[in-house]
């Protein structure tokens, strides 16, 4: 966290200390700002609060804070809307802050429930359950529970976890090992021995060379042919082998 002196409106509020992990999100931070200054939710001075909010997230260097930035931009938009001239008696004018007020109140309610849950959990934590268990009686294994909904949720998690570059990578000329394998097998049916150049076929590209090489290695591993080179840098010779009985 930056040790720079607080900027903007924050310095004007003595004893105002903000820590990121104290807040559970932008709404929480907003509520904190309002409470600090005893501002009513129903009548937020948007211009002032927007500046303070921006000041805080700036000061905290909230890089991972897309949620905070989103709220900041909403506040700035609201601030602009509030500056638009209007006649106070204008019919049908809706306070641009209404949506924010509704969200803050709703969130405030959730915080109240969360506090209640916390107290309840704290009270429950005062009681310990049985921890030392004598050798448990042999129970038959209970039936496992699994359903399609769970499985599909897992599928979605997996898919969302696959890095996208892999998913969109398009290779214009894929290696064609199967094609090369078939070509070599056909050639070897016709003659017991062929050269590497023959195996490559007419007008080979670099992709064809790679495909052929991989096909040769695989066929050699399966014992279907043997690759030999009589001297260093000599031409590669491919000889047919009878397939192993075990394969």
């Amino acid at each position: 966290m930056t040790t720079d002196a607080p900027t903007i409106a924050l310095g004007a509020t003595p004893g105002f200390v903000v820590q990121l992990d104290r807040f559970n999100g932008p709404l929480d931070l907003l509520l904190h700002l309002l409470r600090e200054q005893q501002i009513e939710i129903s009548d937020i001075p948007i211009a002032q609060i927007a500046d303070q909010f921006l000041g805080v997230i700036h000061e905290l260097g909230l890089n991972q804070a897309a949620d905070y930035l989103d709220m900041a931009s909403r506040l700035v938009r609201l601030k602009a809307q509030m500056l638009l001239p209007r006649r106070s008696e204008e019919e049908g004018w809706e306070d641009p802050r209404a949506e924010l007020v509704r969200r803050l109140l709703e969130y405030q309610q959730i915080k109240e429930i969360a506090l209640w849950l916390q107290r309840q959990a704290d009270r429950r934590a005062l009681q310990f359950a049985r921890a030392f268990l004598p050798a448990p009686p042999e129970l038959p294994p209970p039936p496992l529970e699994l359903d399609i909904v769970e499985l599909l949720a897992a599928v979605e998690r997996v898919i969302s976890g696959i890095p996208s570059p892999v998913l969109h990578r398009v290779v214009a000329r894929p290696l064609n090992v199967e094609g090369a394998t078939m070509r070599i097998e056909t050639l070897l049916q016709e003659s017991a021995e062929i050269s590497f150049r023959e195996a490559l076929g007419p007008n080979p590209t670099i992709v064809d060379v790679l495909s052929t090489l991989l096909a040769l290695l695989e066929l050699a591993r399966r014992g279907l042919l043997r690759v030999a080179q009589d001297a260093p840098f000599a031409a590669m010779v491919i000889r047919r082998e009878s397939p192993l009985a075990a394969d």
């Binding site: 949620d67 959730i110 915080k111 005062l126």
Partner: protein, 194 residues
């Protein structure tokens, strides 16, 4: 102690989770549910009256023997048992939303809290406090979450009806939201915070 209470005490003593009256009834083929309830009453009274270190507690739809809250400090200090770690603020808020709105989808949770919820939902699921209870009919058929019996156990609640009712909360939301709210709500807000 009557034989059924004795059996129930032994069973509850050795069970690491609450047992329902129906499960306890399987201890004795001749015992009715009413017998089990009477035996539970007797056991509860005996443990309380005899000032035992443990007590009978009803929670999560069942019964469990737990140590008395007043002894927690001494037991913890002696380091025989550690208290369960507290939930984070984010986890509590998410649980608050799910427990009141279940079944509820991730989008609604994120809308209310104003932050993304993926990580919290996963960790609550891993702790067994929430589970997927279905899929919404909405676009993309998003997963819907609900609370589990372990959630009730963690809070020592008998069932979801033990949660405070909406009208018992200090901030009671009007059905149509902000348009209907006035200074009264703001006052309630200040009070709730204190």
């Amino acid at each position: 102690m009557n034989p059924l209470s004795q059996l129930i005490e032994a069973a509850l003593f050795s069970a690491p989770r609450p047992l329902t009256a129906e499960e306890l009834a399987t201890l004795d083929a001749d015992a009715s549910l009413a017998d089990v309830r009477a035996a539970l009453d007797e056991l509860k009274e005996l443990l309380d009256f005899g000032q035992h270190g443990v007590e009978l507690v009803e929670m999560a739809g069942g019964w469990q023997i737990l140590t008395r809250p007043s002894l927690a400090e001494a037991i913890e200090r002696a380091q025989f048992t550690a208290r369960t770690p507290r939930l984070t603020g984010a986890a509590l808020e998410t649980l608050a939303i799910i427990s009141y709105r279940q079944p509820v989808g991730r989008a609604e949770i994120e809308e209310i809290r104003g932050v993304s919820a993926g990580g919290v939902l996963r960790s609550l699921q891993e702790r067994g406090l929430i589970e997927v209870v279905g899929r919404s009919e909405a676009l993309g058929r998003p997963l819907l979450y609900g609370t589990t019996p372990s959630f009730l156990e963690l809070l020592g609640l008998r069932d979801l009806a033990d949660l405070p009712r909406a009208d018992e909360l200090m901030i009671a939301l009007h059905p149509h939201g902000a348009a209907a709210t006035g200074p009264d709500d703001a006052a309630a807000y200040v009070e709730a915070e204190s």
